[in-house]
């Protein structure tokens, strides 16, 4: 990339950063709170999952009681990551969630990616079918999104239910490192909510 091209890209990224914003509200599909970071080329939405939802989901995938509780003991978010750049002005976005950081009560934590769960399940003798379902249910650890691409997946944060934290995001757009912070993301409380 020439110096001129690099400067143009930096200018565009700076302009994009001026319009980055965090939107919060209630996710229409889940009827639960969400936090969404967005600019003109990408959106990243974290939607709360209730611990009971997580229990039901993984019990339905064949996990047994103690293992279900191990999973539901984490703060789980459905995460939707989208490259919204137009094909006529497309950007390539890459992420590695191992770079993301959780800031909670003065501590800095990492997101637990799918690779870190595999030895946990193998040591517990969990069946291959369950491991496969678990692995593909999580947000991919690394991903490369072209215009129009997106993925869904769960992300796991080890903070108490009901706690709030800041999530520090890192990604690359067209190879340029970027960072952002979503403040006061709140983990769902472990409560029973009757059907409406």
């Amino acid at each position: 990339m020439s110096i001129r091209s690099r400067m143009a890209l930096c200018l565009l990224l700076w302009i994009s950063s001026l319009h980055a914003e965090v939107i919060t509200g209630t996710d229409e599909m889940a009827s639960l709170p969400f936090w969404e970071w967005r600019n003109d080329y990408m959106t990243l939405r974290l939607v709360q999952r209730l611990p009971d939802q997580t229990r039901a989901y993984f019990a339905g995938r064949g996990f047994q009681g103690a293992d279900v509780e191990t999973i539901a003991g984490h703060c789980v978010f459905q995460t939707v990551y989208t490259n919204i750049s137009a094909a006529s002005h497309k950007r390539v976005i890459e992420h590695d969630i191992r770079d993301w950081r959780v800031h909670y009560q003065g501590k800095t934590l990492s997101i637990m990616p799918r690779e870190d769960w595999q030895p946990v399940w193998r040591s517990k003798g969990v069946a291959q079918a369950q491991i496969v379902a678990f692995e593909w249910s999580l947000l991919p650890t690394t991903q490369r999104f072209e215009a129009g691409d997106y993925n869904w997946g769960m992300t796991f944060v080890k903070v108490p239910h009901g706690a709030s934290f800041d999530l520090e995001l890192h990604w690359k757009v067209d190879g340029e490192p970027q960072t952002a912070r979503i403040k006061n993301v709140t983990c769902a409380k472990d409560v029973y909510i009757p059907p409406q």
Partner: protein, 171 residues
């Protein structure tokens, strides 16, 4: 000066948003190098055997999915519409389920009826031979078995642009 910059930035942002219309991004992305797709042999839920290399000479759409994956469910109706439009035009669609059994998938099709083959990759050995990091991910293979296009996440498969991309590979 700062206000002017912000105004320019706002204008560019709005233009950018308009430019990022859905139709523009609902496309299949070319795969660099057009690698040969890994061959596989899998059963479908009706116990028919599908070997990828047996479909050489046809355009093949390979989709990796699971019943528990919301965006996978979302795109199934448009995949069925695409299938109805192209199945008699030397195009094959293989939807490969990850890790679930035939009973689970069969029950699922009560709510999501589709007529294209639903294959089962029980141990995820096939998906791991493809450049897939999450589901749904789809690939379009040309008649020589090369991966020409990919899509990460949902597409509106019955969109005319995508149909044209697929059918153009028949040449």
């Amino acid at each position: 000066m700062h206000h002017v910059l912000r105004a320019i930035a706002t204008l560019l942002f709005v233009v950018g948003l308009l430019g990022s219309a859905w139709a523009e991004s609902n496309v299949l992305h070319p795969v660099e190098g057009q690698p040969q797709a890994a061959d596989f042999t899998l059963n479908d839920i009706d116990d028919n055997i599908h070997r990828l290399s047996d479909y050489r000479g046809k355009v093949v759409i390979v989709n990796f999915w699971a019943t528990w994956c919301p965006p996978c469910r979302f795109e199934l109706p448009s995949m069925e519409k695409l299938w109805q439009a192209v199945q008699k035009k030397d195009v094959v669609m293989l939807a490969i389920n990850i890790g679930e059994d035939a009973d689970t998938i069969f029950t699922f099709t009560t709510d999501y009826p589709v007529t294209f083959p639903l294959l089962m990759d029980h141990d995820s050995s096939v998906i791991k031979r493809y450049p897939v990091l999450g589901v749904p991910t789809s690939f379009v293979l040309d008649p020589k078995g090369r991966i020409i296009y990919r899509a990460v996440g949902t597409r509106e498969w019955d969109d005319k642009v995508i149909i044209q991309q697929i059918l153009s590979l028949k040449k």
